[in-house]
């Protein structure tokens, strides 16, 4: 579990900072939340016997949903610049799949 999280962390961090434009501090706090969430997530019914590596996509998706929801909440009702607006309009599932494929390509 920890190993998988550690390996995904650079991708998560760069997605939160560069793609969803969280500040460094916000990204670190998000990662702590995601770490706690992921440890509980892996113990949900039906997932306890699932190979850990297959939980990676869920972790990446959770990170994308976190980043998107956070920015939507932070900027609620205010005008967004074009690139952040595009990022928030994209489906987190699509981005997470792309990140997982990129990680596969790198390993």
């Amino acid at each position: 579990m920890d190993d998988l999280f550690e390996r995904a962390l650079p991708v998560i961090h760069s997605t939160l900072e560069s793609y969803y434009r969280l500040t460094e501090r916000e990204a670190r706090s998000a990662e702590q939340d995601l770490y706690v969430w992921f440890h509980r997530y892996a113990r949900r019914s039906g997932l306890t016997d699932t190979p850990i590596r297959s939980l990676r996509l869920s972790l990446l998706l959770a990170a994308c949903q976190y980043g998107r929801s956070f920015q939507l909440w932070k900027h609620g009702g205010t005008e967004l610049d074009e690139s952040l607006g595009r990022a928030l309009a994209r489906e987190p599932q699509e981005l997470a799949s792309e990140l997982a494929a990129r990680m596969d390509g790198e390993s």
Partner: protein, 368 residues
């Protein structure tokens, strides 16, 4: 003076503490829980995770109690809207409590209620991170309900799709559980050889996975199948193994089902009195757990056996005792027709055996 409720950060708890908190919560009377929710850590995801695990584990042994508890915690999480955990955790626990409640209703043969809970579960799982996995587990329960309603063609068509979905998600245990539905349908559709083959494959898969629950369920079904075919050695062998595992798991329903299989074996080998004793023993277990559908099914089985020996009046009493429970179970139209025929024949004191046999076929059930 108007006040403001301040919420101070609470130190998170470990998974072991969560399980202990879940046990404490269940030991606390439901009426006292809400007021003590802070002390009991009821809003902690670890506690809720522990509660889900405990309730799931008791579905087969105390379904009535599980239903009451899952209902309580569902309502607790629902209103007032509480902030639970991180990301999708509130939605997951709502969906999971509804799924547990629905499964308990299915075990208790309360089919309309089961459907209502499954609909609630579906609505909450729509918002979880891994909704495909959660929906797949829900689909399994819905399919199991369809097995009980004897929609065999639909089940046989849908099972391979669900197996594929679980395999894609690498949820091997759930994939294997789906094969059970296929085996049960083959059993009910009077294809014992194919059913035996299916359960043998499940037995091998469960052994390889080290999953005792699935292993014992496969062995129990093999007991019933071999017994019905009069294959004494195979039935005894399967039953011995099944009883060992069920007792180790302290699963009363499993033990009762093996006794049911033994009753079948004794019956086909021409030992009616010991067969009735075995059926009664199973019936007693089911009654204590509150599984009225299974109690009624066994009363019909015993009635059928009594008719073999011309004990029509005793058979009639068994059927009359079963009818109130059968009335409470929402039957499919074909089952209703058989029930009407049986009721009419009992009134006329000439029991319609075809209706009797058809009716007890409507009580076969898959596992949890």
């Amino acid at each position: 003076m108007a006040g403001r409720l301040l919420r101070f950060p609470v130190k998170p708890i470990s998974s072991d503490e969560g399980i202990a908190a879940a046990r404490r919560a269940l030991q606390t009377p439901a009426l006292a829980r809400e007021a003590r929710s802070f002390d009991l850590r009821l809003e902690e995801p670890e506690t809720l995770l522990g509660l889900c695990g405990i309730l799931r584990g008791e579905l087969q042994t105390a379904p009535e109690a599980v239903l009451q508890e899952a209902d309580f915690f569902y309502r607790f999480l629902e209103r007032p809207k509480r902030s639970i955990g991180i990301l999708d955790e509130r939605e997951f626990f709502m969906g999971e409590m509804a799924l547990i409640a629905g499964t308990a209703c299915r075990v208790l043969s309360r089919r309309e209620d089961a459907r209502r809970w499954f609909d609630r579960s579906e609505a909450w799982f729509r918002h979880t991170v891994n909704s495909v996995a959660d929906w797949s587990r829900l689909s399994y329960q819905r399919l199991a309900l369809r097995v009980e309603e004897r929609e065999f063609n639909e089940v046989l068509e849908l099972v391979p799709l669900l197996v594929e979905s679980f395999e894609k998600l690498e949820m091997r245990e759930d994939a294997l559980k789906c094969r059970f539905l296929e085996g049960v349908v083959l059993m009910e559709a009077d294809q014992p050889s194919r059913a035996i083959e299916t359960f043998r494959r499940i037995r091998a898969g469960a052994r390889a996975m080290g999953n005792d629950q699935l292993l014992a369920t496969a062995l129990t079904n093999l007991t019933q199948l071999h017994a019905a075919l009069g294959e004494v050695e195979e039935a005894l062998d399967a039953s011995r193994h099944a009883l060992l595992v069920w007792r180790r798991l302290d699963n009363r329903v499993g033990v009762a089902k093996v006794h049911w299989g033994m009753g079948d074996l004794l019956r086909v080998t021409g030992q009616p009195s010991p067969a009735v004793e075995a059926y009664r023993s199973a019936q007693k277990e089911f009654a204590e757990i509150g599984m009225r559908g299974d109690v009624a099914a066994l009363q019909l089985v015993v009635a059928d056996l009594l008719l073999d020996f011309g004990e029509d009046e005793a058979a009639r009493r068994e059927i009359l005792a079963a009818l109130p429970a059968i009335d409470e179970i929402q039957m499919v139209p074909e089952g209703m027709a058989a029930l009407a025929l049986l009721r009419e024949s009992v009134r006329g004191r000439r029991i319609d055996r075809a209706a009797l046999r058809e009716l007890h076929g409507y009580f076969g059930r898959p596992g949890d």
